[in-house]
Structure formats: structure tokens, C-alpha cells
């Protein structure tokens, strides 16, 4: 398989969702292709970094207003 052929499957490769055979084909390409290895490493790192960013916390005032709106709606609706 060449660079173009493995390209579409790289996310599934990272997520370990590919069949063993396809996986091995990709790995054998990666052994010989520096650029594709860079794409895999940096793509994987991109996903990890986004997972590591802490979730934005709900601010106290936003939470208070949400509950007020819902309570009002519950009473009138």
C-alpha cells in the first residue's frame, strides 16, 4: 500500500479499529515511510492533546440562571 492508500484509514488505525490484515499493511508501509510516520505520530498526538484539555467548567452564574429558567418553565409549563 502506498501513502495515498493508507491515508483514509489512519484515524481508524490510531483508534485500533482496523482488521488485523489492514493494520499490518499500514505498519509495513510506516516502517519505510518517514512522512507517513510523522502524520500518524502527530495525528495521534493531536487527538491526545484535545482529550487532555480540561473541559470548560460551567460558571456559577450560568448554572444559577439555568436552574431559575428551568424552575420557572416547570411551574408555568
Amino acid at each position: 500500500m502506498d501513502c495515498r492508500e493508507i491515508f483514509e484509514g489512519l484515524s481508524e488505525y490510531i483508534d485500533e479499529e482496523l482488521a488485523d490484515k489492514t493494520c499490518r499493511e499500514i505498519e509495513s508501509h510506516l516502517k519505510d515511510c518517514d512522512n507517513c510516520r510523522v502524520v500518524v505520530n502527530t495525528l495521534r498526538k493531536t487527538v491526545t492533546l484535545y482529550r487532555e484539555v480540561p473541559a470548560p467548567e460551567i460558571p456559577g452564574d450560568v448554572r444559577t440562571r439555568l436552574h431559575a429558567v428551568i424552575r420557572l418553565r416547570g411551574e408555568t409549563g
Binding site: N35, R44, R51, V53, I58, V62, H67, I70, E75
Partner: protein, 201 residues
């Protein structure tokens, strides 16, 4: 009696019987996740708050239509995703056109088999990869994704939902989820590569 935590279905049954406390509890259980999804989709506090309120108001309005055999959280994410997309469509767009977006995504594919070698920044120091400025770049980059890619990326990679749940919440096939996710990741990877190395792909 043992003090057990009520399941979502129990709370929903109580809400249908008019319990304000059950509604309060259900909202408390999910408000953080909905806010986080909304913030990631819209990129600012004010819009995220609107989406949060719209989501739970829609939940209250349509709770009778919710079928108990499906998962409440998937249903809620569907309502939240729709609220976020509706809000996004009212806004002036930062996002790229689909054409520009795909050009950028596929520039990587072309770069892989070109003569010039790409730079691997993946083993850079953590304080460089995830400092305040880098986070800002990451947040901005999400808002450049066309909405149909953005919602898939946020649900799957940021909120950590399984692909099958994302597919259900968005009425998409699993292959469509995976293909959109892959493109979104590639675009974000490009943006981070550019930020960390100055390279364009």
C-alpha cells in the same frame, strides 16, 4: 432504607408526574456535559449559555416524547447538538468553507509522498504542547471546522462518545462519523503543526 441514586429513567418518570425536584436533579446531572459541548461548539460563554438553556428547555418540552428504551444521554446529546447547530447558523461564521477545509486536509496526503520531509512535533515537551497559548490555538482551530465536522469531532474526541452513539445522536452512519472525524482530526493536526513548527502541512 438504603439511599440509592435514582436512574435517569426513574427521574424521567418522576418528571412526567410533575416532580420539580427530579427535573432539578436530572439537569444537575447533565448540565456540565451539555455546557462543555456547547462551549466547544460555539467558542464563547454567552452562546454556550444560550445553547445550554435551549437544550434543557427543549428537554422539558419534549420529555413526554422520549422513548424510555433508548438511552437518555444519547437523546440529550441529540437535542444539545441540534441546539448548538441552530445557534451556530445564526452566527457570523469563522468556519472555513468545505472546499477550503478539504483542500487543507488533502494537502497532507500530497505532502506524505513528496520529497520534502515533514516535521514530527509529537514528542515535544508537555509544557510547550499544552501551554495557555497552545490551548488558545486549539480552541480557535475547532471553531474553524465546518459545522458537520465540528460536531462529530467534539462529540467523539472531546466528549469521548463512542462512534456508534455519535452516529445515533446525529442520524449518521458509523462510516460517515468515522470519515468526518478523520478529516476534522487531519485539519486540526495541520493547524497544530503550523503552530508548533511553522510548517504548513
Amino acid at each position: 432504607m438504603e439511599n440509592t441514586v435514582p436512574t435517569d429513567s426513574q427521574l424521567i418518570a418522576e418528571i412526567r408526574d410533575g416532580s420539580a425536584d427530579a427535573l432539578e436533579e436530572l439537569v444537575s446531572r447533565y448540565e456540565s456535559r451539555v455546557y462543555s459541548l456547547a462551549y466547544r461548539m460555539l467558542g464563547n460563554k454567552e452562546d454556550a449559555e444560550d445553547v445550554l438553556q435551549d437544550t434543557f428547555l427543549n428537554v422539558v418540552r419534549s420529555i413526554d416524547g422520549f422513548k424510555s428504551q433508548s438511552s437518555f444521554s444519547t437523546w440529550l446529546y441529540r437535542v444539545a447538538a441540534n441546539a448548538a447547530l441552530t445557534k451556530l447558523r445564526q452566527k457570523s461564521k469563522r468556519e472555513k468553507s468545505e472546499g477550503e477545509f478539504l483542500d487543507e486536509v488533502y494537502s497532507v496526503r500530497e505532502a506524505t509522498h513528496s520529497e520534502s520531509s515533514m516535521v514530527d512535533w509529537s514528542d515535544g515537551p508537555a509544557d510547550r504542547l499544552l501551554n495557555e497559548e497552545a490551548r488558545q490555538v486549539m480552541e480557535e482551530a475547532i471553531t474553524e471546522l465546518p459545522e458537520k465536522y465540528r460536531i462529530v469531532f467534539v462529540l467523539r474526541d472531546v466528549e469521548g462518545m463512542p462512534a456508534a452513539e455519535v452516529a445515533k445522536a446525529l442520524d449518521l452512519s458509523i462510516p460517515a462519523v468515522k470519515s468526518r472525524l478523520h478529516r476534522a482530526r487531519l485539519y486540526l493536526r495541520n493547524r497544530l503543526s503550523h503552530y508548533y513548527t511553522g510548517e504548513t502541512v
